[in-house]
């Protein structure tokens, strides 16, 4: 099973430059066209499942706006 991850974009910093969108290997990022930030940009957001938590978007983000989390492997799960 592929690793699962998620990102949190701090919209205060995001300027909608699209560098994260073009470099995402899973192509799960896009600009949120339904809202704008305080500076007046459409922020980047995760639009689909499939994030692996690789962190490439955070490496290229010029504003350090992206926090990346990855699910730990080997966490014990009890079926409900």
């Amino acid at each position: 099973m592929p690793l699962k991850g998620r990102i949190v974009v701090t919209e205060k910093y995001c300027k909608g430059c699209e560098l994260c969108i073009s470099s995402c290997p899973q192509e799960v990022l896009a600009l949120a066209n339904d809202r704008i930030t305080a500076k007046g940009y459409h922020p980047a957001t995760m639009v689909a499942d499939g994030c692996t938590g690789c962190g490439i978007c955070s490496v290229i983000c010029p504003e350090a706006a992206i926090t990346v989390y990855r699910e730990k492997t080997g966490v014990n799960r009890i079926p409900a």
Partner: protein, 260 residues
């Protein structure tokens, strides 16, 4: 599904502690932000935040003093290496670095930087090369490419009248005082990671007292180039890198043993 352990996630990346919470003044896509972040990450990894003094130059690069949460002074245009020299000589146990753009370092500050390198001053210099004067509106810089259109070379840089661009790293690699001279680029994640290692090596050079270290970082300037951030990245890759080849220009033999 019930999770037994609350700690189910690891944080792969978060904003480094050395960056302040200020929103930056940089244009969307500007790789200055990446360079600031890399310096913050390296200083955090080395645990040297309380012992670091930065010298900000003039240009877009100056506002680094608002973004890095550490001691900073601002130097007059081009004089950052002179100020860093003074600070380092008075406080030799501190890590002193300058952060300069190409208009500052390669034009008005050329005398200061060349002599700081020739003297082998024990400072680190981070040199952002985006082939124009960013803050003042995209005028031609000493690093502008032949034929490049800027606001002060509107038909393209004519090498007959305006001369050839200066390749700073190649020039400094011939100076005996310089210990670590490399050129890196900030256009994709792979090269950004390489740039981070180079920044670390520059600081390690200084901590070991080996002399002058400089990392030249090729950068984009979408607003003044008049193209989108994504096209700027493409332009950097296709036009700038062939003219300013990436690589290690001078490495002190004592640095070979450092493994990062």
């Amino acid at each position: 599904m019930v999770l037994e352990n609350c700690e189910i996630e690891t944080t792969v990346f978060e904003r480094p502690d050395s960056l302040t919470g200020t929103t930056s003044h940089y244009c969307p896509g500007c790789t200055h932000g990446i360079a600031n972040r890399l310096i913050a990450e390296v200083i955090d990894e080395m645990g040297m935040r309380e012992k670091t003094i930065g010298v900000a130059s003039v240009g877009c690069s100056v506002f680094i003093y608002n973004y890095l949460n550490m001691d900073f002074v601002q130097a007059p245009h081009g004089r950052a290496p002179a100020m860093a020299t003074g600070i380092k000589r008075v406080l030799p146990d501190r890590m002193v670095f300058t952060y300069q753009g190409d208009g500052d370092l390669a034009s008005i500050g050329m005398a200061e930087i060349v002599h700081a390198a020739a003297r082998g001053e024990n400072i680190s210099v981070f040199f952002l090369n985006n082939t124009n004067y960013g803050m003042t509106g995209g005028q031609m810089a000493p690093t502008s490419m032949p034929g490049q259109k800027t606001t002060s070379s509107q038909t393209g840089r004519d090498v007959e009248t305006q001369g050839f661009p200066i390749r700073v790293s190649e020039m400094f690699s011939k100076l005996d005082g310089a210990s670590y001279i490399v050129r890196r680029s900030l256009h994709d994640p792979k090269h950004i990671r390489m740039a981070k290692k180079a920044i670390r090596m520059a600081f390690e050079t200084q901590v070991r007292g080996l002399g002058f270290s400089m990392v030249e970082l090729l950068s984009i300037c979408p607003t003044n180039w008049g193209i989108s951030p994504l096209n700027s990245i493409k332009w950097l890759e296709e036009k700038m890198i062939p003219y300013y080849p990436l690589g290690d220009y001078k490495i002190h033999p004592a640095l070979a043993e450092i493994k990062l």
